[in-house]
């Protein structure tokens, strides 16, 4: 053991799993290194809610034993992976960063998580997120925010900010998030790592606590495109527990991932060059387009004029779905229940429990969703948005007749300071380039594409590549080609134990 612990461990999922499978390093050593990084560094980041020290080490020992016995453990042998706190496991808690689920323990494990476990992964903990995955900054959490490892006075993005920060800070090589309107891609962009929103229906949502059921997808965070592709591939496939999970043969994203982009047509849209883009983001996207051209891709102009209607459509339909999904939190069967005063009845029990259990942003979305579904407003808002959704899908369909992939920014800016987007609408508008991917149900990836140095600290910038439904193979291939031509993904934030900028908000009790 002692000779192993002084070795420099590989950094990627694929290299770690190879080294563990070949018994060059033990799963225990790898898992222990991850747990130690969390213990040392996460005090300044708060990327984790709960760390499964015992569970993870026991599991690592079990994996080492299986390898010693000559058994095949799978392509993720011994790799420590974190889960966003809205993906359930039958061990530990799953809180959705909400008071209403503060003590909730799931009786079962999400299919996506189980597929990783069955492939040898070790689940090391649950990561912080915006409550019920509603937010773009990981500020709206019942148990305090997560801090961006590149600059702890800034947000990590959201809603899967804890998973993004943990991977960016090298606390673990990969993590899962969920993406309803950008909640994997935007934090990946703001934390300088790779984040994937698979096609709707690619990965089972069984065990992903529901927010917007026709938008939600689980997706991985990793430091390389190949790692993200492997994790996505492992999680894919039909699941009898989710009727929206597509019945397709298991895909192979890895075989052609290194094929050159020569001959591929990449679409560029003027609607992605909005005035809200910071100069550094605009420059990073231009640089990427130039690079792709040099690599042999053909750049074509496409039109996505509905980009600016995306937020309106999204913020009608997803709150509507959320208000319906979150009706289950009633204080009766599980979750927080309020104390009743004399004379209060069952209505009061519901209304008090929900008001006490849900934070302000979740209540806001429930209110918005309830309003757009209420008698007299359904046609004006909900029906209208469902039709606009069709137009957005058709607009993408037309674009994909001209190109294989669409290239643009993931987020209009790099990470913003805590408290900057206090007005809810301002926060919502930061999803302008990511929400439509979910509205149309196609796939998207964000990968590192540069840094904004204007604030003094280098802040990562993400490039988004979107492809049509079930064409993740092309998406990973285009992303991999850019990654291979650049070194942004190799840069790491400079973190020391206990460091946190003086201007960062304190964790709420």
């Amino acid at each position: 053991m002692s000779d192993q612990s002084t070795k420099i461990l590989p950094e990627t999922v694929i290299d770690l799993a190879n080294a563990i499978s070949k018994r060059e390093v033990s799963a225990v050593t790898v898992v222990r290194a991850s747990l130690e990084s969390i213990a040392t560094l996460d005090g300044s980041l708060h990327s984790f809610h709960e760390v499964y020290n015992e569970h993870a080490l026991n599991r690592a020992r079990h994996i080492d034993q299986m390898l010693e016995d000559g058994k095949d453990v799978g392509p993720l042998a011994g790799v420590p992976i974190a889960l966003k706190d809205n993906i359930v496991t039958d061990f530990g808690h799953t809180t959705c960063s909400s008071r209403i689920l503060e003590h909730y323990q799931s009786p079962f494990t999400a299919t996506a998580a189980q597929r990783l476990i069955d492939s040898g992964a070790v689940i090391i903990g649950k990561t912080n997120c915006d409550e019920f995955a509603m937010g773009s900054s990981t500020e709206h959490c019942a148990f305090g925010p997560t801090y961006n490892p590149w600059d702890t006075s800034r947000v990590p993005g959201g809603s899967s900010g804890g998973s993004a920060a943990a991977v960016a800070a090298r606390l673990c090589p990969a993590a899962l998030g969920s993406d309803t309107g950008g909640s994997v891609r935007q934090p990946a962009s703001l934390c300088g790592i790779v984040g994937v929103k698979p096609t709707y229906g690619r990965i089972s949502r069984y065990g992903l606590i529901a927010f917007g059921s026709s938008f939600d997808q689980i997706g991985p965070f990793a430091r390389t495109v190949s790692d993200a592709a492997l994790l996505t591939q492992i999680m894919c496939g039909h699941d009898v527990h989710d009727s929206t999970c597509a019945e397709l043969p298991n895909p192979d994203f890895m075989s052609d991932i290194d094929a050159p982009v020569e001959g591929l047509r990449l679409g560029v849209s003027k609607e992605y060059k909005g005035a809200e883009n910071s100069p550094a983001v605009a420059e990073a996207v231009e640089r990427a387009i130039t690079r792709f051209r040099e690599l042999g891709a053909e750049i074509v102009d496409i039109e996505l004029p509905l980009t600016n209607h995306g937020i309106s459509t999204y913020y009608v339909i997803t709150p509507a779905e959320a208000s319906s999904n979150l009706a289950r939190y009633d204080g009766i069967r599980y979750g927080h229940r309020a104390q009743l005063e004399a004379g209060e009845d069952l209505f009061d029990l519901y209304a008090k429990s929900r008001a006490e259990g849900f934070g302000p942003e979740v209540r806001r979305r429930i209110m918005l969703g309830t309003y757009v579904l209420s008698s007299g407003y359904y046609d004006a808002y909900y029906k209208r948005a469902m039709r606009a959704r069709r137009l957005i899908k058709q607009e993408y369909d037309r674009a994909f007749e001209q190109c294989h992939a669409i290239v643009g920014p993931t987020s209009p800016t790099a990470a913003f300071p805590f408290g900057e987007k206090k007005d809810p609408l301002t926060m919502y508008l930061s999803d302008v380039y990511t929400a439509n991917t979910n509205t149309a149900g196609i796939c998207g990836i964000s990968l590192p594409a540069g840094f904004d140095e204007s604030s003094g600290n280098p802040l990562p910038i993400g490039l988004q590549i979107q492809c049509q439904a079930f064409d993740e193979a092309t998406m990973f291939r285009v992303a991999k080609m850019y990654e291979a031509a650049t070194d942004y993904h190799q840069q790491a934030p400079n973190l020391t134990a206990g460091q946190r900028a003086a201007t960062s908000p304190e964790r709420q009790p």
């Binding site: 309106s312 208000s323 599980y334 069952l346 209505f347 209420s374």
Partner: protein
């Protein structure tokens, strides 16, 4: 410029949503939701009359399971997450008589 929502509208929505909010919270949501709805009104610029609704991104059909008895969640497991258990039942306030209205 008038706001889309009145305080009574917001109070009604809070009741439908089963959220007990203070007057200050109702007023805050009135202002914020009005501003969000004003932004959403830009959908009125689109010609949607002959467009079919799209409730989900992919076409799915109902799939039926065999009608067979399968094990349910063990009762202990179910009750372990319950906020208030009496004997082996979920306890709720009185519903009948004056306790209704939920």
């Amino acid at each position: 410029m008038t706001d889309t929502l009145t305080l009574d509208d917001v109070r009604h929505v809070a009741k439908l949503a089963r959220l007990r909010l203070t007057d200050a919270e109702l007023e805050e949501y009135r202002v914020q939701l009005s501003s969000i709805l004003k932004h959403i009104d830009q959908l009125n610029q689109l010609d949607l009359e002959h467009v079919e609704s799209m409730p989900r991104p992919m076409d799915t059909t109902n799939r039926f399971d065999e009608d067979e008895i399968k094990p349910s969640m063990p009762l202990d497991m179910l009750l372990s997450n319950a906020p208030h258990v009496e004997d082996r039942y979920l306890a709720v306030p009185k519903v009948l008589g004056n306790g209704g209205g939920a």
